[in-house]
Amino acid sequence: MINFNRFTLANGLKVLVHEDPTTPMAVLNILYDVGARDEEEGRTGFAHLFEHLMFGGSINIPSYDEPLQRVGGENNAFTSNDITNYYITLPAANIETAFWLESDRMLSLAFSEKSLETQRNVVCEEFKQRYLNQPYGDVWLKLRPLAYQNHPYRWATIGQDLAQIENAKMEDVKAFFKKHYNPQNAILVVGGNVKTEEVKELAEKWFEPIPAGDKYVRNLPKEPEQTAVRSLTVNADVPLNAIYMAFKMPARLDANYQVFDLLSDILSQGQSSRLFNSLLKEQKLFSEINAYITSSLDEGLFIVDGKLVEGVTMEQAETAIWQELDKIAAELVSENELTKVKNKSESIMVFAEMSLLDKAMNLAYYELLGDAALLNVEINKYLSITAEQIQQVAQETFKKEKSSTLYYLANA
């Protein structure tokens, strides 16, 4: 159970407070409701590049990191296809510094040319390090445009290519800031050794004077229903053949979302899971095999991927995966197997309460989903799932015409 209080400032900024007196630390987490899905084709990678620029100084404070480090704080951020999330941890006694820094960059950035130039380079190096200079690093750059044809999920957060990042202009940066970085589009969570009254005063002092800005209305291209099997074969200088299968699954707020999550757990969570035992241990077809969901806010993907044992043909490997998927669609999972994955989910949620930062991030994310209180009842949705529901979503999902498969082959 994660306690919280909640209020909204006059400019529309939502604020949540989680009081945890057992720690001397505090966390300030701010989630902006903007991600790579809000980018335009041809200017992709921008939400993430922008996240880097948020550290390049704000209108009244030339350096973001230095004053924070000076009071014993640390910070970081991440961008996904759906959101951009920034967080600070620092000694609770110095929490006002976090308000000062975070509110000034919501007010306005410094928009320094030097920062833009440097961060374009840094992000290009990140692109190379993670996606281009690694074996299998470009899988998601290939798989996304195969699985999605219209929706902006067809590009990865890092962007479609280096050139789009290299071409980012200051005018684009300013327009992006104006459109997305305003109080109405953000959720602030303060947690740790703080009091709600104190947070309220500080929020009113530092954040409330920021103009509300214009409300961004999201209107993304719809993904048409997939009706035919898709595949792509890639050859690369990698040691092993690999396969990546993507199936369409519903959006995060769909009533069946948790059923898909448990379905992926039955197939692939840990060494008692089905794919691990059948395909890796018994049939010895794969040296690695995974199933997982992308948990995205719009229509997501259910992924099965694996690296083939040398000598195994792609046809053998793919057939064996389909046999497991067909089996879970044809036969009800046992009560024992279902209880096992439910217990595991329950346990994972209790362990997540060990970390102050995780608690703050989760509150922000569930508030974005509609109500932070959903976080505390999420487990009930998992515990009420039946074997019939698992079977039904497996039947609806694991169809050839809903699949997109990437064959990633080692150059001979």
Binding site: R70, N75, L90, N94, K128, Q129, P209, S272, S347
Partner: protein, 424 residues
């Protein structure tokens, strides 16, 4: 009117409270340390074994035992072990380190009576079935093949081997080492290493006397294993600096790793060297990050550290930089080292680093697990909590003059092994 140009007042961190564990013993003498803290009804129990009987001809012996220890006992198959652990929502993790092998159980406290007997079987009755060993060998070889295509992996491996040779700290594992793994070698190692006299249990979370009684009931009797164990011991000597270059003509980025043998946690200069390291490459605002990432944009990240092992310490620096700017990055790194040796660190920067390190220490004591981790760092180095008192005192009081002297003693480009994988 709110003045946003002025920073709010702040305080330096003053009180840092460590939760020290309670020392106990099982009936058979096995030492147990308990950090009983936290609101959640969960617990982490670590069984920590010192690595023994190092044989350079069989570098994978201890690693493979660790990898396969939960893959079959006298009465349970690998799948049955995993199913039982998973059924109770528990997690069983095995981790091999250069000095210690750790088998960790994460569990809701209420399930300990059901889960601990499974763990007892794993630690006492593992049989390392041949068919599991065959799968392990095949799949680990495939993983290694993928790793060998990563420049940062090659840089790390060549750096460690250059400094530490064929020891657990630097052993250059190749595909053929997997082919030579024998079931009998695994059983020999298991019998020697997995005994109460070679084990320490560290517990963190909600763990009361009644839970200790359950633990004692399961693990406090005689264990099955009784092989001969000789603790590993190594000595290393300082080397001349040198360049190792592995050319990859197609590389978009070059991996750089450099460093040298240094001091470990037990040395009196260690806290001072940690502060110097922080300034140099130990945090986001470090000189390496400020220059090579934030000013030049050569890399996504660059950092340095001091690793403290049981029989050695070493200093290292690692980054991946654009292949076209690799030579420039190396020049800048050398420049930054030499500035620390020739110039005093300004008060403003040093005070910032002091505050940052104190805040970071405070933040690293988040929950019962992290308090137990702090204990492990000193316990296995043979140190007491006065280590942290001294560390905090040094962070608060060290002078720029002293740091310059430390830089001259421990930070020397010419003494480093400098590995580049990619293009120069």
């Amino acid at each position: 009117m709110l003045n946003r140009t002025v920073a709010p007042a702040f305080k330096q961190v003053n009180d840092i409270n460590f939760i020290k564990p309670t020392a106990k013993q099982l009936k058979n003498g096995l030492p147990v340390y308990v950090v009983n803290a936290g609101d959640q009804e969960l617990v982490r129990i670590e069984f920590i074994f010192e690595n023994v009987n190092w044989d350079a001809q069989k570098p994978l012996q201890a690693i493979a035992v660790n990898g396969l220890i939960n893959n079959g006992t006298k009465n349970l198959t690998a799948k049955e072990i995993a199913e039982k652990v998973d059924y109770y929502g528990a997690f069983l993790q095995t981790e091999y380190g250069a000095d210690l092998t750790t088998i960790t159980l994460y569990s809701l406290t209420k399930h300990l009576p059901s889960v601990l007997p499974i763990l007892w079987s794993v630690l006492n009755e593992s049989i390392f079935p041949q068919h599991e060993l065959d799968i392990y060998k095949q799949n680990q070889k495939q993983k290694l093949q993928v790793s060998l295509q990563k420049n940062d992996f090659l840089a790390r491996k060549n750096f460690a081997n250059s400094i530490f040779g064929q020891t657990p700290y630097g052993s250059d594992i190749s595909l053929t080492d997997y082919d030579q793994l024998q079931q009998s070698d695994l059983l020999d190692y298991f019998k020697a290493a997995f005994q109460p006299k070679n084990c320490t249990i560290i517990i963190a979370g909600k763990f009361l006397d009644k839970d200790f009684d359950v633990l004692d009931e399961v693990f406090g009797g005689a264990w099955e294993n009784a092989g001969t164990a000789v603790k590993n011991s190594f000595q290393f000597s300082e080397q001349e600096g040198k360049d190792l270059y592995i050319e990859k003509p197609e590389a978009l980025q070059s991996a750089i790793r450099m460093g040298n043998l240094s001091i470990s946690r037990t040395h009196e200069d260690f806290p001072a060297l940690q502060i110097l390291n922080c300034v140099f490459g130990g945090y986001f605002g470090s000189r390496l990050m400020a220059n090579i990432r934030e000013d030049k944009g050569y890399t996504y990240g660059i950092g340095s550290g001091i690793a403290s092992l049981k029989h050695a310490g070493y200093f290292f620096l690692a980054t991946e930089v654009g292949a076209d700017v690799c030579a420039s990055a190396l020049t800048e790194i050398e420049k930054e080292i030499n500035i620390l040796r020739s110039d005093l660190i300004a008060d403003e920067e040093l005070n910032l680093v002091r505050n940052f390190m104190l805040g970071s220490l405070l933040g690293s004591l988040e929950n019962a697990f992290s308090h137990a981790d702090k204990f492990k760092s000193i316990h296995f180095a043979g140190l007491g909590y006065d280590y942290y008192d001294n560390y905090i005192h040094t962070v608060k009081n060290i002078t720029a003059e002293r740091l310059k002297a430390v830089a001259n003693q421990y930070l020397d480009w010419n003494a480093m092994t400098r590995v580049v994988v990619g293009k120069k």
